[in-house]
């Protein structure tokens, strides 16, 4: 049979492209606040993977633990239980030197600007450049161009008290970016900004992600910038409720839409279906489903290809070959009959599987489905 994983299809863990190294890997992460009787769990065995160059937006109501998770990833809090790998370093039990070194590879953008009133915009940004030992000439050029880019070209040598709130926030953003961090952690970076400069900031983020392979994790409620997210993580009550790769989800939805039964569904419903699918893997030659067995999963081929075989007494006859984007296993779910064919993986393949119950629930949403289905089966 196939190797069944607990990875949701929409997590984007499997793409047809090359897999980039993980910037952040969270495994079974628990976190508690308080001591003794007052000890309260804030994070409940969370898992999350963020790959190089991804822009992740974290959402969720306040108190859901997203900020706690962000501070843990940022090594600003020590890890209590579980595993947290950041830029290849385990943070659970990490010593001070490692943490200090790691922090220099990250860029932090806080909700408050936290600029030194005594330093000019340039000097505040330079505090970050100096720390990583950037050559002063290079640093000067980079700071000037960053601040200019963020619309502060004429205010480079102003002190914070002669800058507006938005301008100060942009200086703080420049400070978080100037040393070309590998990982940027941002908390509502655009909250204090107007539409235009907010857009400029996220465009800058996108460029960094694309050109420098910089990973960005951002907590935001600003839905004007949701479009830049590669992945949207939603947290509720200390647990990651959904972790959706935007690109992958749209690929799945495109595939699902091609399935005649689902062609009428709205994007929202399609996304919900996608959310319920799990990743299955199969090595070449492995049987995915066997003719005659009870069926309880619907498969979508994410990558690879399979042969469809039908038993004819002693031998098996290959009747079809299915490729990426095609699907199988639906008939047994609809008719409640045993599988009517055997499916064997031709190469290393990845499937997204939907459970019988979920599949039926989707079908039940529209009466026209069954009609259509019968039609479809009849025409086969």
């Amino acid at each position: 049979m196939t190797e069944q994983t607990t990875i949701p299809a929409t997590s984007g863990a499997f793409t047809d492209g090359m897999l980039l190294p993980r910037t952040v890997k969270v495994e079974n992460l628990n976190h508690f606040f308080g001591e003794g009787e007052l000890r309260k769990q804030a994070l409940f065995s969370n898992n999350l993977e963020v790959r190089r160059g991804e822009i992740v937006i974290m959402t969720g109501p306040s108190g859901s633990g997203k900020t706690t998770l962000l501070t843990l990833i940022g090594s600003l809090r020590s890890v209590q239980e579980g595993s947290l790998l950041v830029l290849g370093n385990e943070l659970c039990g990490a010593d001070r030197d490692l943490i200090v070194r790691l922090r220099r590879e990250m860029g932090f953008i806080f909700q408050a600007h936290n600029l030194f009133e005594s330093l000019t915009a340039f000097q505040n940004v330079n505090m970050a450049a100096e720390l990583v030992g950037l050559d002063p000439m290079i640093a000067e050029g980079r700071i000037t161009s960053l601040l200019t880019r963020l619309g502060l070209g004429d205010r480079i040598h102003y002190k914070p008290n002669s800058l507006s709130g938005g301008q100060k926030q942009r200086v703080a953003i420049a400070r978080g970016l100037v040393h070309k961090p590998k990982l940027i952690l941002a908390d509502e970076p655009t909250a204090a900004l107007d539409e235009k400069s907010g857009r400029e900031v996220v465009t800058l983020f996108q460029e960094l992600a694309r050109d420098e392979g910089c990973t960005i994790i951002m907590v935001t409620h600003d839905n004007r910038i949701l479009d830049v997210a590669d992945r949207i993580v939603n947290m509720v009550d200390g647990t990651i409720k959904s972790d959706v790769a935007v690109q992958e989800t749209s690929v799945i939805c495109e595939f699902l839409k091609d399935f005649p039964l689902f062609s009428d569904l709205t994007p929202t419903t399609l996304a919900e279906i996608a959310d319920q699918m799990m990743v299955h893997k199969a090595e070449p030659g492995k049987t995915v489903i066997r003719q005659g067995e009870a069926g309880n999963l619907f498969y979508l081929i994410r990558s690879g290809s399979v042969d469809v075989l039908i038993d004819e007494g002693q031998s098996k006859k290959k009747v079809a070959e299915l490729k990426q984007g095609q699907y199988f296993g639906e008939a047994a779910l609809i008719t409640d009959e045993p599988r009517n064919a055997t499916i064997v993986a031709k190469e290393k393949s990845v499937f997204y599987a939907l459970g019988k119950e979920d599949f039926r629930a989707v079908l039940a949403t529209s009466a026209t489905f069954e009609e259509e289905l019968r039609q479809a089966l009849f025409n086969r």
Partner: protein
């Protein structure tokens, strides 16, 4: 400008000039307090040994029982003769001094006040005792009977005589130990904590005023200080050695430095004065520390989110410790300069007022500056704990 590291300590310190001014004023005040204590202490000690500094000679004989100059312990004249006979001694000369019975009063309308005690110093007028040329120039005036020179730095309130006009001074009706004395001139020596003024006179006059120095016999046969001149070509130490072997064990033979040190040690160690000044200096130190702590602490408290951000960025603990260290050093320097200037002004004012020798010695300046740095650094290191508690996790 971008070639240098950002001087964050300096920038933070000078950003709010009002706060800086208050800080500087506070630290300067502490510096002034300490300088006052050091000044008074030095003044006490230097004034106390001024008579030693004013005398010629390389070695001094005093009674073993004389624990301080103000103690009226004497040794017999024979020791002077013995000293004169030692090889390497060019000359040994007696100096007589009286304090408790030496009451000087100004007669007014025949009655006058009860008088105040001052130190009367007697010596044989041909002996080379005092360095000051003004004394040597007036030696002939002292050859007259019932004459004396008065220290014009004597306390003006107690000894209200004209000090700039010798003519007028000589016309004053003055009595010393109830006998008439003519003040034929002035010299400068200065007061100290035991002596409010000084008179000098010839030995013969001295004997006349203080016949009670020795109950039976010649008042000039008991000596307060013996001044020894060492012959050229002789080592002072070897002459001192010879003298201490030759003379009886009732006298100490001291070099100039030993004499000074013994006198200063008495005031420093055997009287509460040293402790009082130490307490005074400590109060200045503590006041400065509190002010300095306050300044640095509030600077840190006002910038907690900024410091936490620096921590999040990866600035290590030692950066913050160095930052506060530099800040405290700067504060100490900024506070010390005006404090020292103010102290200098105060010193000259007090010197003029009291006649005490208030001088700013290199040693005193070094001591106060070291104390100021220690005070600022100590309070900085106390305050830095607050900074180290800055939690970057609180920023998100």
């Amino acid at each position: 400008m971008s070639n240098r590291r950002i001087p964050l300590a300096w920038k933070n310190l000078t950003h709010d000039w009002r706060r800086l001014a208050v800080a500087i004023a506070g630290i300067a005040f502490a510096v002034l307090l300490m300088f006052t204590q050091v000044g008074f202490q030095n003044a006490l000690f230097d004034s106390q040994v001024k008579i030693i500094d004013d005398m010629q000679g390389e070695l001094f004989l005093i009674s073993k029982a004389k624990y301080t100059l103000a103690a009226e312990k004497r040794f017999p004249l024979s020791r002077i003769y013995q000293a004169r006979s030692c090889s390497g001694v060019q000359g040994a000369y007696p100096v007589f001094s009286e304090l408790t019975t030496s009451m000087l009063r100004k007669m007014e309308g025949g009655i006058g006040n009860p008088g105040y005690p001052l130190r009367s110093i007697g010596f044989y007028l041909d002996d080379p005792i005092f360095r000051a040329p003004e004394i040597r120039e007036q030696i002939n005036r002292l050859r007259q009977p019932d004459t004396a020179l008065i220290d014009r730095k004597s306390k003006a309130k107690k000894f209200a005589f004209p000090r700039n006009d010798d003519q007028l001074l000589a016309q004053q009706a003055v009595e010393l130990t109830n006998k008439k004395v003519t003040l034929v001139g002035t010299f400068a020596m200065g007061t100290d904590f035991a002596h409010d003024g000084n008179l000098i006179m010839g030995a013969e006059n001295f004997a006349k005023y203080f016949p009670h120095r020795k109950r039976f016999g010649d008042p000039l046969s008991v000596i307060d200080i013996g001044v020894v001149h060492v012959q050229d070509g002789f080592k002072i130490e070897s002459v001192q050695d010879l003298l201490s072997r030759t003379l009886g064990n009732d006298v100490d033979i001291l070099t100039r430095d030993e004499f000074r040190t013994q006198e200063i040690n008495f005031w420093d160690k055997s009287t509460p004065i040293g402790t009082i000044f130490l307490a005074g200096k400590m109060i200045g130190f503590v006041v400065g520390m509190v002010i300095c702590y306050q300044v640095i602490f509030s600077d840190i408290a006002d910038h907690m989110p900024e410091f936490a951000t620096l921590k999040a960025m990866g600035y290590p603990t030692r950066y913050f410790i160095r930052l506060i260290l530099v800040e405290s050093m700067l504060l100490s320097l900024l506070g010390f300069i005006p404090g020292a200037i103010a102290s200098r002004v105060l010193y000259s004012g007090l010197s003029a007022q009291t006649g005490l020798l208030m001088t700013m010695t290199d040693h005193g300046v070094a001591f106060v500056y070291a104390a100021t740095v220690a005070m600022c650094v100590a309070s900085g290191m106390l305050a830095v704990r607050k900074l180290l508690s800055a939690d970057p996790a609180s920023l998100f």
